[in-house]
Symmetry: C2
Subunit: 138 residues, 2 copies
DNA sequence: ATCCTACAATAGACTTTGTCTAAGTCAATC
DNA sequence: GATTGACTTAGACAAAGTCTATTGTAGGAT
């Protein structure tokens, strides 16, 4: 059922009830949960799962490159299972709702040499902010 | 001596020793300190200043629009006094050194309507990551 | 110059987010 | 089905930040 689970099994990842539940909770599009939210949802399916396990599992998924860490708000890190297709984020300034977006162009090319300070630049993150339809209406 | 201090006085900001010290610590280019770093430097000049005051003062400077909050790493917020000229950030993935940069183009225009999900988009932050010359040499 | 008062600063408890450790449990293999 | 090393657990700990009740003070009024 889950792409993520299948990929993990294919990599020989040792499967446990806890890890399966975490992977299942993360499955889907435009999913950007904090560690505590993942834990809260995991507890519904597996009441004895501990916070430490959720943190460990999320950390491993990030190391494996199957999940991305996103820092869109300044509170908790969020975890994004959409690690296959590169994308950026659009965040509601009021309610925090997050969408994955795919802007045109290549921001990396827009940084002139004179603005690189000798850095070897390898990566760009773009975060758009605004109001979602719900919050704009209110 | 300080642009920031003068602007604040001009706005009728009530001046106290603590607020002056915080504003002085923040003055400069490519300054991106955490709240605790600001506190550490403020304590050198004014030993009895408290953490809460530093947080309060930073919060007010942000509300006044004189200082920006930056979330380049996922630990503590950083405070950037360069709030007048819009800019983005270039971060060393290893040591965390941060530079202010001014890319060409307008990333806002690069987000097509079909990727806006009905949001009213008002703002973009771009974070470049790579290795600074020091860390690349090591 | 002194007094007042509203605003600012303080200490420290509290919250949130995340990490670590030592001991117990279990998935995969033999 | 026994073994074993990786996984999980509870709870202590740490870092970053917020809140509150109390004390202090900048700056206007007198």
């Amino acid at each position: 059922m889950s792409d993520l689970l299948e990929r993990l099994r294919g990599r020989g990842w040792r499967m446990t009830a806890q890890r399966r539940v975490v992977a299942e909770v993360l499955n889907g599009d435009h999913v950007h949960l904090t560690a505590d939210e993942v834990h809260a949802r995991a507890v519904v399916r597996l009441p004895e799962i501990s916070r430490a396990t959720v943190y460990n599992t999320l950390g491993e998924l990030v190391s494996l490159g199957e999940v991305l860490e996103v820092a869109t708000d300044k509170r908790a890190k969020r975890y994004d299972p959409n690690a296959h297709r590169p994308h950026h984020h659009l965040v509601c300034a009021q309610c925090g709702a997050i969408k994955d977006v795919h802007p045109d162009g290549n921001p990396l090319a827009d940084l002139p040499d004179s603005e690189r300070f000798g850095y070897t630049v390898s990566n760009v993150e773009v975060t758009y902010r605004g109001l979602c339809p719900n919050c704009a209406a209110a």
